[in-house]
Amino acid sequence: MSNAIDRKTALHVGKLARLELTDAQADASAKHLASILSYVDQLAEVEVPEDIEPFFGATESVNAVRDDEVRPSMDRETILRNAPDSDGEFYRVPPVFG
């Protein structure tokens, strides 16, 4: 499954994850990915009976819901306090295409 991990793959995955990798970082990343995937590939050898459903969460209880009630929001100053850039009303970010 994992033989095709090269710089190009690493750069593509980096892009999906919004990690800006230099070529050197991409190479190191490809090497690591290939190594961990070659270990993880042992999963392929596990024979899973037809009736086995994947276990996605560690709990299988159901129906955690709340009533539709408005709770006070947090004041804006508190919410924006941790933002690296805001004008006191909005978060500010660089333009999409700068």
Binding site: L16, A64, R66, D68, R71, I79, P95, V96
Partner: protein, 505 residues
């Protein structure tokens, strides 16, 4: 479809409208009418100061966790039932991963493979006969959280974008149709019909200006040419923010795709779906800037949420709350209340509140015909003029019913009735008080007899005409009578005159 024979430019140019079939499917995002957001307690009120309706959960703060609003789930099921959808007994939540500054967690909580509503349908028709009545199939409808709002610097100077997260986390139901619509008119009719249902069952206000109903369309053309059937590349049109915009955008896109195909001959094979936006001012669809890489949302089950199981009993209880849907209501009004198709349509299109008002008035005065005339004329005119809703109309259905009952009973004629209605509205009084105020009282029989005698004496020509058999000539005396005594009832007056003249009892 896939014969791949090259079609010459001349053959393409010769294609006529008759050989082109438009294929349209819609994706409609409907904001559900909950008080609080889908996964936190922040208010969903529209138009508040930026970032004042936020909390750690809806701003995706580290450590925060979502908890599902059960009303959102209920409204989704209600919508699904109204759209004849299968309701999932077991649903779960998935993360749709993508980066955008108005998506605080870097993923949207949505539903991938177990949508709350499965396959269903909506029947549409057109009163002007632009298309035959048809069924549009619903593929699915799933519940998800809305993103926030980004405002970009439009000056072109590369200024910063501003992010408001008030809308983040508002519950949306995404309704996806199959590509069953064959014209922009059908798509528009679908949207109108959908909006009517959603407002009827009170799951959404469908206010398009406020973004409560947002529509994207997928469109392409199937063309018969040279014995082959080819398809043009699929285009997704975003930002169709009104029914009119949707209709015009899709109409425009049909022409654009046909022209593009005539020019290039490009078909669906190997062509990725493109995204266009509708520019309402310029009245054109514009290709949106391509993303750097193809979207890969890396969906996976959200481990912060657990599955939702719904029982038949719960679904049945929600079904009970739906009441009669518009199409059924129209039929009922025609069949049980003897309304004309036209009147029933006008009434139903006004929404549930007006229909309920009518039904209540009709019941009180026991006269559907009178009730529909007054509701469709007096009431709706007032609502239009004042741009208000039925629950703001000053006269309740009881008061209106009472007034119309008096007309039905012959205590008032319709003209006097309108005077009474004006007085009721002006002074916020009931019909009895208005009648009293206007000095309207019953004319007793000796008073009536003397009035009639006075009229007959003063109008020998009319008397002669009646005696020649022209009974209708008596109508000319009504106006005179009312000048003498405005309280006189035209019907009673004429009956009395006939009696005195000895014509047909």
């Amino acid at each position: 479809m896939n014969t791949n024979t090259q079609i010459s430019a001349a053959d393409r140019e010769a294609v006529t409208a008759a050989e082109v079939t438009t294929i349209i499917g819609l994706e409609v995002h409907v904001q559900l009418q909950t008080k609080s957001k889908l996964f936190c307690g922040c208010s969903t009120l529209f138009g508040q100061e930026p970032n004042t309706q936020t909390c750690p959960v809806c701003t995706g703060m580290p450590g925060s966790l979502p908890v599902l609003n059960k009303q959102a789930l209920k409204l989704s099921i209600k919508t699904g039932l109204a759209l004849n959808c299968e309701i999932a007994k077991h649903t779960k939540w998935d993360r749709k991963n993508y980066f955008y500054p108005d998506l605080p967690k870097g993923y949207q909580i949505s539903q991938l493979d177990q949508p709350i509503c499965g396959v269903g349908y909506l029947d549409i028709s057109d009163s002007d006969g632009a298309f035959e009545p048809k069924r549009v199939e619903i593929e699915r409808a799933h519940l998800e959280e809305d993103a926030g709002k980004s405002s970009h610097d439009e000056s072109g100077r590369g200024g910063k974008s501003k992010i408001d997260l008030n809308r983040t986390g508002t519950p949306l139901l995404e309704i996806v149709t199959r590509p069953d619509m064959r014209s922009a008119a059908e798509a528009k009719a679908f949207l109108q019909s959908l909006k009517m249902i959603l407002t009827y069952i009170e799951v959404s206000d469908c206010n398009m200006q406020e973004g409560s109903l947002r529509c994207d369309g997928n469109i392409n053309l199937h063309i018969n040419v040279g014995g082959q059937k080819i398809a043009t590349p699929i285009v997704e049109i975003k930002n169709m923010n009104s029914f009119r915009a949707a209709e015009r955008a899709l109409d425009y896109e049909v022409k654009r795709q046909l022209a593009e195909w005539k020019e290039t001959g490009g078909t669906i094979e190997g062509a990725p779906k493109r995204t266009f936006g509708w520019d309402d001012q310029a009245e054109v669809t514009i290709a949106q800037r391509e993303k750097e890489e193809a979207a890969d949302y890396r969906y996976f089950p959200d481990p912060d949420l657990i599955a939702v199981v719904t029982t038949d009993e719960q679904i049945d209880a929600i079904r009970e709350e739906i009441g009669t849907l518009p199409s059924r209501l129209r039929n009922d009004l025609v069949r049980e209340h003897q309304l004309s198709e036209y009147d029933a349509n006008v009434l139903v299109n006004q929404g549930r509140g007006v229909v309920d008002y009518f039904l209540s008035v009709a019941k009180t005065c026991d006269n559907s015909k009178l009730a529909i005339n007054w509701v469709n004329q007096e009431v709706l005119r007032h609502l239009n003029e004042t741009n208000s809703a039925i629950d703001q109309y000053p006269i309740g259905s009881d008061g209106m019913g009472d007034l119309l009952k008096r007309i039905t009973d012959g205590d008032l004629d319709q003209t006097r009735g309108k005077d009474v209605l004006s007085a009721m509205m002006e002074d916020s009084i009931d019909a009895a008080a208005a009648i009293e105020k206007l000095g309207i009282r019953q004319v007793d029989s000796s008073e009536l007899d003397s009035l009639c005698q006075q009229l007959l004496d003063a109008n020998p020509k009319v008397v002669a005409q009646v005696q020649e058999g022209k009974v209708k000539a008596l109508g000319a005396l009504v106006g005179q009578a009312r000048k003498i005594n405005p309280n006189v009832n035209p019907g009673t007056l004429q009956a009395n005159l006939r009696k005195m003249l000895g014509v047909d009892g």
